[in-house]
Structure formats: structure tokens, C-alpha cells
């Protein structure tokens, strides 16, 4: 196990800057998820940590050692690829034993370690099969087995679940988490799926356009997003964001450009100008006959455990999520009250949270 320090790391492909100076300090035994939309540089960053991609600038340290110019094989890391990258001409056992064989580990010990890993991942009955005889979930497990037999300093996961169907994904998510809790090896996990990041990681690094937008614990990022991008990216269904103006004539209100008026207890301190962006998470509204927002329901999506409502209020569309069953149908009108303690405001120009 080891710490991983990423100091001002940059990556250019020709004149295109893909990673623009990233600092992340990963603690020993921590599970960190890199999350962000496609093209944000998260996979490139992971590949740089693995040594598959040259670093244009900055420094990556595994433990105390700077690994910028160290070959992947000497970094003592293991990686699970998105498409598993199992060796198709080798059996499951051979796939898992490959790294140990290259290292010259004695046969007996290889066998012991492979068996132990197979046992952990319930792969024992499959040891003699080749990858094409396995299902997606089994292949995924073999890829993890190949990583854990080596007992590396750091695990890298590159979107390992994105090729699985929804049900299997949830199952494997739990398996990876369980495995991590058992091994407590430093883990860096790249995903574009915020649910995976939220549910699995100790800390989340939200990346966008080659930079880090925010680093923090999952709920911290959810409740106190640093900026509009993070607020919009984390959370599903997505947060409602309405540009508008603060008014203090009568009492403090925020009026969105689309005409919704939200009463405020007070205008947030440090508001530099009268403009701003209001953020309301879909689940932070309650049905209340005295509520200030009048919503015309256009779509309802009951899923059993919760009900998603899409509607229009004045000129704005609004997403709402209720944990209880609500008897609403398209065309209905309902009064809503946003939770005053949980609404967020952002600076319209910088996007920073006020």
C-alpha cells in the first residue's frame, strides 16, 4: 500500500492540452474516484499514473518515489481495464499467474496465490476456462483477480463496470467495494457514473476539461458543491439551475428570469451583485399548499420507491423527486416549497457557490 501524490500534472497531445495541472493527494489505503464527463482527462490521468502515457509536466509519486520516468512494470501497480483486456489464449489461472510468472515467482507460490485470489473472487471452478467461455461479470472478476494476485501498492480501475448490464453493474459495484474493504489497498477508480463514484469512494475528484473542479467526500460534494459544474454533474436527476436576480424591496426574494419567485430568509452574505443562479435539487422541494412555487405537471415517472415529476412553473421547467407516492398526473397543478436550508446560490459569471 502506498500514497499517491499528483503534483501539477499536465498532459498535452500536440497542441491540445488534455490535463491542465492537477494536484491530488491520495492517502494510503484510500479509495478515490475520478469522475467527470467524457473528455475531461480522467482516463488520461489514470494512464499517466499507470505509466502508459508520458507525463508532459508535473510529478507523480507512488509512496515516496517519483515515477515520472519509471516503466509501468516497475511501478508496482495493477490496473483493471474497461474492456478487461484478458489474455484470450490463456486460461483464467494463466491470466492471473502471468505477472507472477514474469517476476519469476516459484511455481508452488504462484499456485497458492492464484488459488487464494480465485477463492476470494469465487473463480475456483473457472480456473481452467479461457476468457471467451466466461460471461461479462466473470471476465470482470478475472480482471480483478489478475490485479489482486500481485498484491500491488495501488489498484487502478478504468471504468470497469461500463460494459456490464445495469443489474450486474450494481452487483459488481458491491463486489469491488467488498474487495476493497478486505484488502484496503490504495485504489483509484475512474468512472463517468456519478452513482458509482458516490457509492464506492472515500473521496471523489470531480474533473472537467482537464482540471479538478472539486475534491471531497461524496456527501460533502453533493451538499456543498464548489461551483455550478459540480452541482450540475453530481446528482441524478440533475439539480434545477435558474439564473435570476435578488430583490430586497419588500422582503428578500430571488426572482428567476423565467418568473419563479422564491422567498428567502435573507440574501446570502457576500453577494457581489444582484444577479445570481439559484440551485434547487429535485428532492429538496416539498408539496405544500402554502408553497411559493406553482407547478403545472407535465410528466410523472413513478418508480415505486420514488416519484419523479417534471413540470413547468412560469417560464421555467422544474424537476422534482418525491420519496413518497404522490397522486399527481399530467395537467395537475401543485404548490411547492423549496427547503430554504438547502437551496444553493452561484455566482452567475464565475459559477462559484455564494
Amino acid at each position: 500500500m502506498a500514497t499517491v501524490q499528483i503534483v501539477d500534472v499536465r498532459k498535452d497531445f500536440g497542441s491540445v492540452k488534455v490535463v491542465k495541472g492537477i494536484d491530488i493527494d491520495i492517502r494510503d489505503g484510500e479509495f478515490v474516484a475520478l469522475v467527470g464527463p467524457s473528455g475531461c482527462g480522467k482516463s488520461t490521468l489514470l494512464r499517466m499514473i499507470a505509466g502508459l502515457e508520458q507525463i508532459t509536466g508535473g510529478e507523480i509519486r507512488v509512496g515516496t518515489k517519483v515515477v515520472n520516468n519509471v516503466a509501468p512494470k516497475d511501478r508496482d501497480i495493477a490496473m483493471v481495464f474497461q474492456n478487461y483486456a484478458l489474455y484470450p489464449h490463456m486460461t483464467v489461472a494463466e491470466n492471473m499467474a502471468f505477472s507472477l510468472k514474469l517476476k519469476g515467482v516459484p511455481k508452488r507460490e504462484i499456485e497458492q496465490r492464484v488459488n487464494k485470489a480465485a477463492d476470494i473472487l469465487s473463480l475456483t471452478p473457472l480456473l481452467g476456462r479461457v476468457p471467451r467461455q466466461l460471461s461479462g461479470g466473470q471476465r470482470q472478476r478475472v480482471a480483478m483477480g489478475r490485479a489482486i494476485v500481485r498484491d500491488p501498492q495501488v489498484f487502478l480501475f478504468d471504468e470497469p463496470l461500463s460494459n456490464l448490464d445495469a443489474k450486474l453493474r450494481v452487483q459488481m459495484r458491491a463486489e469491488i467495494k467488498e474487495l476493497y474493504q478486505r484488502l484496503k489497498t490504495t485504489t483509484i477508480y475512474v468512472t463517468h457514473d456519478q452513482i458509482e463514484a458516490m457509492t464506492m469512494a472515500d473521496r471523489i475528484v470531480v474533473m472537467h476539461d482537464g482540471i479538478v473542479e472539486q475534491i471531497g467526500q461524496p456527501l460533502e460534494i453533493y451538499d456543498q458543491p464548489d461551483n455550478m459544474f459540480v452541482a450540475g454533474f453530481i446528482g441524478s436527476p440533475a439539480i434545477n439551475l435558474y439564473p435570476g436576480s435578488f430583490r430586497t424591496e419588500d422582503k428578500a426574494v430571488f426572482e428567476t428570469d423565467g418568473g419563479i419567485i422564491v422567498p428567502l430568509e435573507r440574501v446570502p452574505a457576500g453577494t457581489p451583485r444582484r444577479r445570481g443562479v439559484l440551485g434547487i435539487r429535485p428532492e429538496h422541494v416539498a408539496i405544500d399548499p402554502a408553497g411559493a412555487i406553482s407547478l403545472a405537471v407535465t410528466v410523472t415517472e413513478p418508480t415505486g420507491s420514488e416519484t419523479f415529476i417534471l413540470g413547468r412553473s412560469e417560464q421555467e421547467t422544474m424537476r422534482c423527486l418525491f420519496r413518497d407516492r404522490v397522486a399527481l398526473k399530467p395537467g395537475d397543478r401543485v404548490q411547492l416549497r423549496p427547503d430554504p436550508n438547502r437551496i444553493l446560490f452561484f455566482d452567475e459569471e464565475t459559477g462559484r457557490r455564494i
Binding site: K73, N83, L86, Y87, L102, K103, L134, R150
Partner: protein, 281 residues
């Protein structure tokens, strides 16, 4: 599938016609090889006596004077195998390395080089006859197995590279990256990952290269002076200034095909594709 009888009959007729068109000369030639030495059927007719005399005399040089060339093609079979074997080894080893570089490399220079290799193949071989003869002669390699295989390697290498590149292109690069992280050096990646997965491609390339060398006539005839004559030279040798020994020529031609069948049978077993299935996805 409820096609009419006429439809199926006409398809069958077309197929039969195509087969007949291609096979007729061979069939006739085959009959020549089975005819009593010295007799050539002028038209396609079934000979009165079927005999293997021409085969025996081509193999052992045991034919009667006047109707036989009196030499054995056994040494020529040996020569052909040595030359083709060396060519296969040279082309697959060099071709595999080059194909890997062409497949994984990303540079304009490589693209230009790769296309140049293919363009060179489009020039008629005869235009290279003089320079190659001079080169091989200068280094004292004329009439040697090595000399001829060097030329054959030059002729077949572009094809081998092109074929192998296609196969290596199909091997996901993630497998290499996984192996690098697993602790493999670049050579170990080639040895343990790329080579086993490209094995069917290597078998295909080996077959084509073997065939090309085995039947190559022009350079073999320019560079040989007797001791390294390959089969095509020996077969052509039945046509001398004074006489042409058609029966033996035909017998030798048919016998020359047998080793090819055997070679292709064994190589074909390695050509089974679909090994990469299940690697990624």
C-alpha cells in the same frame, strides 16, 4: 428454400462449366502423365495403357533412353524445400517484427514506408533481374540456397508484412498495456501476447510465402547453375533443345504439388481464426 428445379439446375450447370473450364487442362495434363513415355495424346482422349512409368522415371531417372530425360527430381525437391523453408523463416521473422512496428507505430514516415513496400511489389519482377543478378553474383551467392532465398525473401516480405499487419491490427492494444503493467518487457509482450494471438496470421503468411518461393521460376533460373536448381527449373529442364519429355514433365509437375498439399494441410490447422474472441468487450 423452395427454388424451382430449373433455377437450381442452371446454377449447377454454371458451376460445373466453371470447374470444367479451370480443370480441363489439368485433366488432360494428368492423362499425359499417365501415358506411356514418348506418347502424347494430341486430342483429349483416354490412353490405351495407363502407366506410372513417367512418375518412376521422373523420380529416379530410371526411364528408357530416347523417351526419358534420365534425371531424378529428388535433389530438386530437396532444393526447393530448403529455399522455400529459408524464405518462410526469413519472411515470418522479419515480417512479424516489421508488421508489429507498422501496426502500432503512429508516424507519417511509417505510413510512407508501408505504402512504399506495397508499391514496390507492383513493379514487374523482371525489372529487378539485372541488379539482383549482379548483387548476388558479386557476393558469390549465385547457385546457392541462401542466395536464392535472399531474393525470395525480398520478393515476398511485403506480402508477409501486409498480411501480418492485418492480424496484429486486430489484437487490442489494451492486451499489450495489461501485459506491460503485469511486468512484461516489450520483447516479452511480443513473445507471450502478440505472437500467440497472431499465430493464425503467421501460418497464413508462411503458406503464401512458401508457395511463392516454391513455384518461383524467373530468379531461380537466372541464379542457378545446376547444384541449387529448384523444382520449377527441373520441370522446365524436360524441355531441351532436342526434345521435350512431356510425360515426365507432367508427372514431375503433379508430384511437385504433393508437398504443397501436405504443407497446406498442416499450416491450415493453425489458421483457425477466432482466438481473440473474448479478450475484450
Amino acid at each position: 428454400m423452395n427454388r424451382s428445379f430449373t433455377y437450381r439446375a442452371s446454377l449447377l450447370f454454371l458451376a460445373a462449366l466453371a470447374a470444367l473450364w479451370t480443370l480441363f487442362p489439368f485433366a488432360w495434363y494428368f492423362l499425359v502423365s499417365l501415358t506411356t513415355p514418348g506418347h502424347i495424346p494430341r486430342r483429349f482422349s483416354f490412353p490405351d495403357v495407363l502407366t506410372l512409368d513417367s512418375y518412376a522415371s521422373a523420380l529416379f531417372g530410371s526411364g528408357a533412353k530416347g523417351v526419358s530425360a534420365n534425371y531424378s527430381i529428388l535433389p530438386n525437391i530437396f532444393n526447393s524445400f530448403v529455399v522455400a523453408g529459408l524464405t518462410v523463416v526469413g519472411c515470418t521473422v522479419l515480417g512479424f517484427g516489421a508488421a508489429y512496428v507498422f501496426s502500432r507505430g503512429r508516424s507519417t514516415t511509417l505510413n510512407v514506408l508501408f505504402n512504399a513496400l506495397l508499391v514496390i511489389r507492383m513493379t514487374p519482377a523482371v525489372s529487378l533481374a539485372v541488379p539482383i543478378y549482379l548483387m548476388i553474383n558479386t557476393y558469390g551467392l549465385a547457385d546457392t540456397h541462401i542466395g536464392l532465398s535472399l531474393v525470395h525473401i525480398m520478393l515476398s516480405l511485403p506480402l508477409a508484412i501486409w498480411l501480418l499487419k492485418g492480424f496484429i491490427d486486430g489484437i487490442p492494444v489494451e492486451l499489450e498495456e495489461a501485459a506491460l503493467i503485469d511486468g512484461a518487457s516489450v520483447l516479452q509482450v511480443l513473445r507471450y501476447i502478440i505472437l500467440p494471438l497472431a499465430a493464425p496470421g503467421v501460418a497464413v503468411a508462411a503458406c503464401f510465402v512458401f508457395l511463392a518461393s516454391y513455384v518461383e521460376f524467373m530468379f531461380a533460373s537466372i541464379l542457378s547453375r545446376g547444384s541449387s536448381d529448384t523444382l520449377p527449373i527441373a520441370i522446365a529442364g524436360y524441355n531441351s533443345d532436342h526434345q521435350t519429355f512431356y510425360n515426365e514433365m507432367a508427372a514431375a509437375s503433379f508430384m511437385s504439388m504433393i508437398p504443397l498439399f501436405i504443407f497446406f494441410y498442416f499450416a491450415g490447422r493453425y489458421m483457425v481464426r477466432g482466438l481473440t474472441m473474448g479478450a475484450v468487450k
